[in-house]
């Protein structure tokens, strides 16, 4: 087989043969599939739990981890997974049960994030400031995945997804309805820590492929799109995984036949899909997601004296309105 310059055609079989002609591309597709499934499933829970900021911070933390691993000449995967694992534990220690003020929690997480970026910058500087290395840490190395990396990713993904399946139901309970879950005996605190660790693993795996900055293309966007499309938990999870998988493989495919980088295509596809779905939902249900759209009188009770006074003053008030220029 001689495919010197890939050329896209309408024949999908030929396209597929071109796409899989080189081992690096096969490994990219394999790694992409593994990461997409993992990110789609864990991302769905992350969006449900509103922990996207924690996820983003873990992605940022993966950068100094990878840079340190490069500096120390150890496998870069150790850097990614080590940093994200430690980062998850740090976030679990900083963020309480979510009860005492989300604002305080996000401020603390933000400081961790800034420090992590600074550390990463230092490590890159110590390494000699090679720009190519920095770029792949931040924007990914889709096309440089080795067979060994694929196997490692597969093992971590299987372990992570099995653990997620084992805690899925109580985790869902704790995410949706924490106070009742706690009263019913669900260890919400422990589940919170466990989920952050799972999230750390998913972020590390994704960052290895997409780079630290593009993690969200697979972790947030497909999950957010799925939650717009359906409120059914099982269907949403499946959709999230399928969408993550689709944008990854399509992105890889398009990038192979185009001069532009994979990261751009994957993020653009998932963003485009999200925008389309969002527009469709807005058009179909214009009031969705807007709390003020409720009919009056269904919100807070209005039995106190101010309401009473307004009613009492209703007579003259109405007359004024009717009289127009009366005031």
């Amino acid at each position: 087989m001689s495919v010197s310059t890939p050329h896209v055609s309408w024949d999908l079989v030929t396209d597929w043969e071109q796409l899989t002609a080189y081992p690096f591309m096969v490994q990219a597709l394999e790694a992409g599939a593994i990461v997409a499934v993992m990110a789609g499933a864990i991302g769905w829970f992350m969006v449900l739990r509103r922990q996207t900021f924690a996820g983003h911070t873990l992605a940022i933390i993966s950068f100094p981890g990878a840079a340190a691993a490069t500096l120390a000449a150890i496998p870069i995967a150790i850097g990614y997974f080590g940093a994200c694992g430690l980062g998850a534990l740090a976030l679990a220690a900083v963020g309480r049960d979510g009860r005492n003020g989300r604002a305080g929690e996000s401020a603390a997480i933000g400081t961790v994030q800034a420090f992590a970026l600074g550390l990463g910058f230092l490590f890159v500087g110590l390494y000699g400031g090679q720009l190519a290395g920095l770029e792949s840490l931040l924007f990914g190395t889709f096309l440089g995945i080795t067979k060994g990396q694929v196997v490692t990713l597969l093992c971590i993904a299987v372990a992570t997804l099995l653990l997620l399946a084992a805690i899925a139901r109580p985790l869902f309970f704790a995410s949706v309805d924490a106070s009742v879950a706690r009263a019913g005996g669900v260890p919400t605190r422990l589940l919170g820590v466990a989920f952050l660790l799972l999230l750390g693993m998913a972020v590390a795996a994704t960052a290895e492929i997409t780079g630290a900055l593009l993690v969200f293309a697979l972790l947030v966007t497909p999950a957010a799109t799925a939650q717009l499309l359906t409120a059914r938990p099982a269907l949403g999870l499946v959709l999230s995984v399928v969408l993550a998988f689709l944008v990854t493989w399509l992105g890889l495919g398009i990038a192979y036949f185009s001069p532009y980088p994979v990261g751009f295509w994957v993020t653009s596809l998932s963003f485009g899909l999200y925008v389309l779905v969002r527009l469709a939902v807005e058009l179909r249900h214009p009031d969705r997601g807007r709390p003020t759209a409720r009919p009056p009188g269904r919100g807070r009770p209005n039995v106190r004296i101010p309401g009473q006074r307004t009613t009492a003053a209703g007579g003259p008030g109405q007359r004024t309105t009717a009289g127009g220029a009366g005031v």
């Binding site: 949706v176 669900v186 409120a231 209005n302």
Partner: protein, 289 residues
């Protein structure tokens, strides 16, 4: 049959400070009971004791004839809460279903594959029907009104066929028509299903007509009895240790006037609590004449 809840010489403390002490009460099974009192008097603490989340510092407690923790599985509990916000993209039926098996590890199988999942779905449909929420249970819970959400949450507390329901201020965030409707619903469940209902209330009036008994906490103590024997000037004055008046309106609403934290004037509603919202009207009208 043993009492639903029995306390004898009970005292409880939180963070070293005694919340209430010397409380004796007996709630029979199938009764509809309101727990009343000002903020901080220990109403939610009472629920914590019944749920076995907080041990007594003195005295004894039995719940459904057992120690509180042992009875936990037979109690449906609705905590005091704010409602689900509009971005919560989870259906009402999913929230109800969590009450049935949400604490179990693993992940649920689709109903098409498993008989127990079908049975669970049928049970969820049954309680949703019972609370009259069938029309909107499939919609995302965040898009529902406060009253609709509250009905689904009561369904969640009911889904395991509890012998007792503990409801912490279930009427608090509802407007008056919804307060009346949810109160009627809870009473219907109490009577038709034979469930003991213990309801913490801010305002006794929406449920006054349905109650068998009230428990009133104030001044570090608690008394219980039929509503009109407890919500009386002499009883409440004794509890608070200061003169309290109870006024009954021609329509039968009870207004408690003169609770120490209400004074003659109140600014906003944040810091105090009355047995009746109507007390606000009195208290706020007085200064302006």
């Amino acid at each position: 049959m043993s009492d639903a809840i029995a306390l004898s010489g009970a005292a409880v403390s939180r963070g070293g400070a005694t919340v209430w002490s010397g409380v004796d009460l007996a709630i029979a099974r199938g009764e509809f009971v309101a727990v009343l009192g000002p903020n901080g008097a220990g109403k939610s603490t009472f629920l914590d004791v019944v749920l076995g989340l907080l041990p007594l510092s003195a005295g004894g407690v039995s719940v459904l004839g057992e120690a509180p923790r042992a009875a936990r599985a037979r109690i449906g509990y609705l905590p005091q809460r704010r409602s689900f916000d509009s971005s919560t993209r989870v259906r009402g039926v999913d929230v109800v279903r969590l009450g049935l098996d949400g604490v179990r590890w693993g992940m649920p199988l689709p109903a098409a594959l498993s008989a127990s999942a079908r049975a669970a779905a049928a049970k969820v449909d049954e309680v949703v029907e019972l609370v009259g929420a069938s029309a909107y249970a499939e919609r995302p819970i965040g898009s529902l009104s406060g009253g609709e959400q509250q009905r689904l949450l009561i369904a969640q507390a009911l889904v395991r066929d509890p012998q007792m329901l503990l409801l912490d201020e279930p009427l608090d965030s509802l407007d008056l028509p919804n307060q009346a409707a949810v109160a009627a619903l809870v009473q219907r469940i109490c009577r038709t299903q034979g469930v003991t209902v213990v309801l913490v209330a801010h305002d006794v009036n929406p449920i006054l007509g349905y109650l068998d008994r009230v428990v009133y906490f104030a001044g570090g103590r608690g008394v219980e009895g039929p509503p009109r024997e407890v919500i009386r000037a002499d009883v409440l004055s004794g509890l608070y240790g200061s003169p309290i008046e109870v006024v009954e309106t021609p329509s039968g609403r009870l207004i408690v006037v003169g609770t120490p934290d209400a004074g003659g004037h109140c600014g906003d509603c944040g810091g105090h609590d009355h047995a009746s919202d109507a007390a606000h009207l009195i208290a706020e009208r007085e200064p302006s004449g």
